[in-house]
Symmetry: C2
Subunit: 291 residues, 2 copies
């Protein structure tokens, strides 16, 4: 298939690379052009803007930074929507707002395009190893057409409902993580204060009712004093911000999410934005270490 | 070995039964004597009080309700400590306070006994299937002597440190659970409000970075509208209360634990004490459903 790909950061470059390996004809675009070089070296054509990336394609994917970037890529001058061929499918894989996904879907319809929102989880490792979870929203027919491409990039692939449902699913994913993170971090703080070994704790509780991906993976990093990302706090802040905006729109009170977001916000204020999300441990440790 | 067993509730009865099956000579005691009948039918001798259960034994186990019950069983008239043979080992498997475990350990020493604190996780199913995690604190020599008995009851067995360390480990376990519970419950509330299917959500996010035992087990019950215990809210309240007391003693601020405990406290006020811990979903649902 002829595929346009917008956004070749750490996630996008790996995902796009899998599509090239699967024999598809890729045209790529990235705001910082140097991040496309590994892909053009593999045979991808280079476009100068989103419109050029979209024109004449069967499917156009985007995975960029913030909802404002998605908006620009879709609705801006030289954006996707005005350029994509009628009948083609546009797929935003950025973690972005459900609301924006619905707006894109409506605008796509006006341009006789189909739109899917399809954010992912699994991180850079999941992208590299084609083991992402891909959570989609939108039209079922468009989803079925794109599914073979998703299967090249990911392992768990689901159409969750109409436009916006992929983003809602990703938000639920992030909300669940806020809980596992604070529970894990407080358990480890308590453990250290009690004088016990953190790895020994994870060994004994990690596979039972207290077990979580966060404890068994990020907890190990905390035990080793490793606060490098993984997933950066600044990116988690973006996601929690979208979730809180949606919850506000729904008039849905989520006190756990609000609490955890406030501690990550404090981390931002302490210049920890590029640390891994497990550095929440340092925030609560500092909270308890005022002198 | 000659073993005394105090407390034959749902957990204790299964654990004690495994020891009988392994060929040990058991003497049992329970405040409500009818709960010992299945064990005496299997050949256990019946004692009339903790002292009688302890006298002449190699090892005495207890697994009762609240720290106040533990205190009574150890320090009361007809308690374990004044009756147990010098050189024998006393093992409290109740989830109780680290502080009390340390007091028992000191008193045991005065009576020339060894004491272990060894609470468990894994619930009634884990007890029945001898798959408990057993987290111990106390003297290493005593632990090595009792370990073969632990292995009859559990699967993951660890000596975590000196007296109190088993209880501290269990508290860390419960603190981690408070986080996974609120994250899971808020994620499911958000999901339902967004109009998506709860089981479909768990299918797609349950094995990734948002995954936890709580989501994959209790989340399924919520999706099915099943709020039966599992683990009763009133028992979780006891454990969170001990954890908060210890955190207070340590001057350790654990805001996530405090928040979640306050919602479970509200559940108690709503007469939900015998519902499963997953009924936190109903508390937050009700919070958002005020009319």
């Amino acid at each position: 298939m002829k595929i346009g790909w917008i956004g070749t950061g750490i996630m996008g470059a790996s995902m796009c690379s899998h599509l090239i390996d699967a024999g598809h004809e890729l045209t790529v675009y990235n705001r910082s052009v140097e991040k496309t070089s590994a892909l053009t070296a593999k045979g991808a054509a280079l476009a100068e803007n989103p419109a050029q990336t979209a024109r004449g394609m069967d499917v156009v994917f985007s995975i960029v930074g913030y909802p404002s970037d998605v908006e620009e890529v879709y609705f801006g001058d030289d954006g996707i929507l005005s350029a994509a061929d009628p009948g083609s499918i546009v797929v935003d894989m950025t973690t972005s707002s459900p609301d924006l996904a619905i707006r894109i879907s409506r605008a796509a319809e006006e341009h006789r395009l189909s739109a899917l929102d399809a954010p992912v989880s699994g991180g850079d490792v999941g992208a590299r190893e084609a083991r992402l979870a891909i959570m989609a929203g939108g039209d079922a027919k468009a989803f079925e057409k794109v599914k073979p491409l998703f299967e090249v990039m990911g392992k768990t692939i689901a159409l969750m409902g109409p436009a916006g449902s992929g983003q809602h699913t990703k938000m639920a994913n992030q909300i669940a993580i806020t809980g596992t993170m604070i529970g894990m971090v407080e358990a480890l703080l308590y453990t250290r204060r009690a004088g016990l070994d953190l790895d020994a704790l994870i060994d004994v509780i990690g596979s039972g009712a207290a077990g979580s991906w966060s404890l068994n993976n990020l907890g190990r990093r905390i035990a080793a004093g490793n606060f490098e990302p993984g997933f950066m706090i600044m990116h988690f802040m973006k996601d929690m911000g979208i979730a809180l905006d949606e919850a506000k729109r729904m008039n849905l009170g989520l006190p756990g999410l609000a609490l955890v977001e406030s501690f990550y916000r404090a981390a931002m204020g302490r210049g920890m934005e590029r640390k891994g999300t497990q550095a929440l441990f340092e925030v609560l440790d500092n909270l308890n270490a005022l002198r």
